[in-house]
C-alpha cells in the first residue's frame, strides 16, 4: 500500500529534520560562510519543531500503524526539537572557539534529532530500532567531534562500543518478542495474553538495551566517561535528548503491552534504587564539573525510574490512576532537560579554549568575577536539588506523590534519602562559587564573554526553570489528558 499524504503529515517533523540535515550536507562544499550553516540549522530545527503542531492536528496512526501521532509524540517532538534548537544556539560560538568544522556538526545534530522523533512516535519495535540507531550513530560521531583530542576520541570509542552492545541486546529482545507473539506492532501485542518465558526473556533484553541508553545502573558505567570526553554542547544534547527519547519508548511499550507491565515491576524497583545510589554516591567525590553533572544525570534517571515503578503498580491494579504517574515522568523529563541544557551551556562557555577549565576549583569566586552567570548556575543547581520555586521541585514532587499513591513507601523513602545525599554536591558547587576566593590567575584573566546566542539559551532555560516551578499546572493539565496515547481511541 502506498503511503498517503496524511501519513506524511504525521511524520512531518522527522521529514523536515532529515531534509534540512541533507540540505546542510549538500550545501557544504559550496558555501564557505560558517554563520550561514548555523542559520540554516536554526531554521531546520525550528520548522521541524513547529511542524509537530501539524502532526498533532492530524493525529492518528501513520504508515499502517508503524508510527503514531498523538499527544505523547507531540510532547516529545516539541521537547527534542527545542533541545536541538538550543544546542545549535549554544554550539555556534563553541565551534568557532575550538576551530571545528561547522556543517557536519549541524547535519549530524539534525539527523540525531530526527532519530529521537522517530523513537518517540514509533508504534512498532523495528521502527523504534531504526530511530534508536539514527540517533545513536549520529551521536557516536558527535562524541568524537574534536578529532585531535585524545579524550574526545576515547569518549566516542566507549560510546560506540557500549552503545552498539546495548543495541544488540535491544534487537535480540525484539527478535524474541517477535518469536513469542508473532508481531512487532505494539498495539497488536496489547491484545495477546501470551505469558511465555520467551516473551519475558525478550522483554528483559529490551529493558537491558534501553537501560544502557537511559544510563540506568548497572548499565551506567559509560556515562561519566562519554559525558566528560564529548564536546560540551554535545554533552548537553546527550543528557537531554536521547535520554528523553529512550524513556519515551519505554513508556510507550509499558502503556501498550500488558505483559511488560506485569513483568517489569521488580526490575524497575531494583533498577531505580541501584541507579539513584550509583549516581548520587558517584557524584560526591567528583572534582570535574562535567563528570559531576554526568553522575547527577544518572541519579535523575533513577528518580524517573521510581515513577516507572509507580506506573507498573497502578497499571497492575487495573486502576485509571496511572495517568498522573505518566504525567510525572514527562514533566520530570522536561524540567530536567531544560536545567541540564543550561548547566552544560555555561560549562561549555566557561571551559575556555580547548576546554581546560573544567575543574570545580575553576569555579571558585565566580560570583565576584561573573555574578550573573553564577546566579543562573545556582538556579540550575537548586532545580536539580529540587528546591521550591524551581521546576525541579515539582518534578520531584509529582514523582514522590505517584510513588506514595501506589504504596511504594520504601521506594519513596529511598528517593528522599538520595535527595539529601544529592543536596551535598549541588550545594557544594554553589558554595565554591560564592564562598571561595578566585585563584590569582583566574582573577587576573578577563571574564569570559557570553555571546548573544548563548545568552538566549541561558535566558530560555533559566526562565523556563522558574516558570515551570511557579506554574506547573499548564503543562501538567496537558499531560493529564485521557488520550495521551493515541491507541485509546
Amino acid at each position: 500500500m502506498l503511503p498517503r499524504t496524511i501519513d506524511m503529515y504525521r511524520v512531518l517533523p522527522e521529514l523536515l529534520w532529515c531534509g534540512f540535515g541533507a540540505l546542510v550536507m549538500l550545501l557544504q562544499p559550496f558555501v564557505r560562510n560558517r554563520h550561514f550553516f548555523t542559520f540554516l540549522a536554526l531554521i531546520g530545527t525550528l520548522t521541524g519543531t513547529l511542524a509537530s503542531v501539524i502532526s498533532a492536528a492530524n493525529a492518528g496512526p501513520g504508515f499502517n500503524g508503524l508510527v503514531e501521532s498523538d499527544s505523547f509524540s507531540f510532547f516529545f517532538r516539541l521537547l527534542v526539537g527545542t533541545v536541538a534548537f538550543l544546542v545549535v544556539l549554544a554550539a555556534g560560538p563553541y565551534l568557532d572557539r575550538e576551530r571545528l568544522p561547522v556543517p557536519e556538526f549541524y547535519a549530524l545534530l539534525l539527523f540525531a534529532t530526527a532519530g529521537m522523533g522517530v523513537l518517540a512516535s514509533a508504534q512498532e519495535l523495528l521502527t523504534a530500532f531504526i530511530g534508536l540507531e539514527m540517533s545513536s550513530i549520529s551521536s557516536y560521531i558527535l562524541a568524537g567531534y574534536r578529532r585531535d583530542s585524545l579524550k574526545s576520541s576515547e569518549s566516542a570509542m566507549k560510546y560506540f562500543l557500549l552503545g552498539s552492545f546495548a543495541t544488540a541486546f535491544f534487537l535480540y529482545g525484539i527478535a524474541l518478542v517477535y518469536g513469542a507473539t508473532g508481531t512487532t506492532m505494539l498495539d497488536k501485542m496489547a491484545h495477546t495474553d501470551e505469558t511465555s518465558t520467551l516473551l519475558k526473556l525478550g522483554l528483559s533484553m529490551i529493558l537491558i538495551g534501553l537501560g544502557f541508553k537511559v544510563a540506568a545502573a548497572p548499565f551506567q558505567v559509560w556515562t561519566p566517561d562519554v559525558y566528560e570526553g564529548a564536546p560540551t554542547p554535545v554533552t548537553a544534547l546527550f543528557s537531554a535528548g536521547p535520554k528523553a527519547a529512550a524513556f519515551a519508548l519505554l513508556l510507550r511499550i509499558f502503556a501498550t503491552v500488558p505483559a511488560a507491565t506485569h513483568f517489569w515491576f521488580w526490575a524497575f524497583w531494583v533498577l531505580a534504587v541501584l541507579t539513584m545510589f550509583a549516581g548520587n554516591l558517584g557524584a560526591l567525590v567528583q572534582t570535574n564539573i562535567k563528570r559531576l553533572l554526568a553522575y547527577s544525570s544518572i541519579a535523575h534517571a533513577g528518580y524517573i525510574l521510581v515513577a516507572f515503578a509507580a506506573v507498573t503498580t497502578m497499571a497492575q491494579a487495573g486502576s485509571a490512576e496511572a495517568g498522573p504517574a505518566y504525567a510525572a515522568v514527562l514533566f520530570y523529563l522536561l524540567t530536567y532537560a531544560l536545567v541540564k541544557l543550561g548547566a552544560f551551556t555555561i560549562v561549555s562557555q566557561l571551559g575556555g579554549v580547548g576546554e581546560k577549565n573544567l575543574s570545580l576549583d575553576d569555579y571558585a569566586g565566580l560570583s565576584q568575577r561573573q555574578p550573573v552567570v553564577a546566579a543562573i548556575l545556582s538556579i540550575y543547581m537548586l532545580s536539580l536539588l529540587g528546591l521550591p520555586v524551581t521546576a525541579g521541585f515539582f518534578g520531584k514532587f509529582y514523582i514522590f506523590k505517584a510513588a506514595v499513591n501506589s504504596n511504594l513507601i520504601w521506594l519513596a523513602v529511598i528517593m528522599g534519602i538520595n535527595s539529601v545525599i544529592g543536596s551535598y554536591y549541588y550545594l557544594r558547587v554553589i558554595v565554591v562559587m560564592y564562598m571561595r576566593e578566585s585563584s590569582a590567575e583566574a582573577a587576573a584573566a578577563t571574564p569570559v564573554g557570553f555571546p548573544l546566542s548563548v545568552s538566549v539559551v541561558l535566558a530560555v532555560t533559566a526562565i523556563g526553570t522558574i516558570l515551570f516551578g511557579v506554574l506547573p499546572n499548564s503543562v501538567i493539565n496537558f499531560l493529564l489528558r485521557p488520550n495521551l496515547f493515541g491507541f485509546g481511541h
Partner: protein, 100 residues
C-alpha cells in the same frame, strides 16, 4: 527438516559467544567483531521465527538489521582508525584517560 528450536538455540549460542568476546577480549577490532556476531545471531533468530510462524516479515527485518549494521560498521571503523592514529594502539586497556 531441522526443527526451529535448533536454530533458536544456535542463535542464542552465537549471541552468548558475542557477549563473551565483548567482555573478555582486549583488542578493539575483536570486540567490534563480537558485536557483529551478536547482530548476526539476531538475524538468525529472526529468520528462524519467521519460518516457524509462516510469515515473511521476519525476513524483511533481517534486511533492515543488515543495513543498519553496515552503517554502524562504517562509523565504528572510522572511530577505531581515529583511536589507532591518536594512540598507536588498539588495546582498550591503554585507552584510559577518562576515569574516576
Amino acid at each position: 527438516m531441522v526443527p526451529t528450536n535448533y536454530y533458536v538455540i544456535l542463535s542464542a549460542v552465537l549471541f552468548g559467544l558475542g557477549v563473551f568476546g565483548f567482555v573478555f577480549k582486549r583488542n578493539i577490532i575483536t570486540i567490534f567483531m563480537s558485536i557483529e556476531l551478536m547482530l548476526n545471531a539476531v538475524n538468525l533468530a529472526f529468520v528462524a521465527f519467521s519460518q516457524a510462524l509462516g510469515k515473511l516479515d521476519g525476513q524483511v527485518f533481517v534486511l533492515f538489521v543488515i543495513v543498519v549494521a553496515a552503517a554502524e560498521a562504517a562509523v565504528g571503523l572510522g572511530i577505531i582508525i581515529l583511536i589507532a592514529r591518536n594512540r598507536q594502539s588498539l588495546n582498550v586497556e591503554r585507552v584510559d584517560l577518562l576515569k574516576l
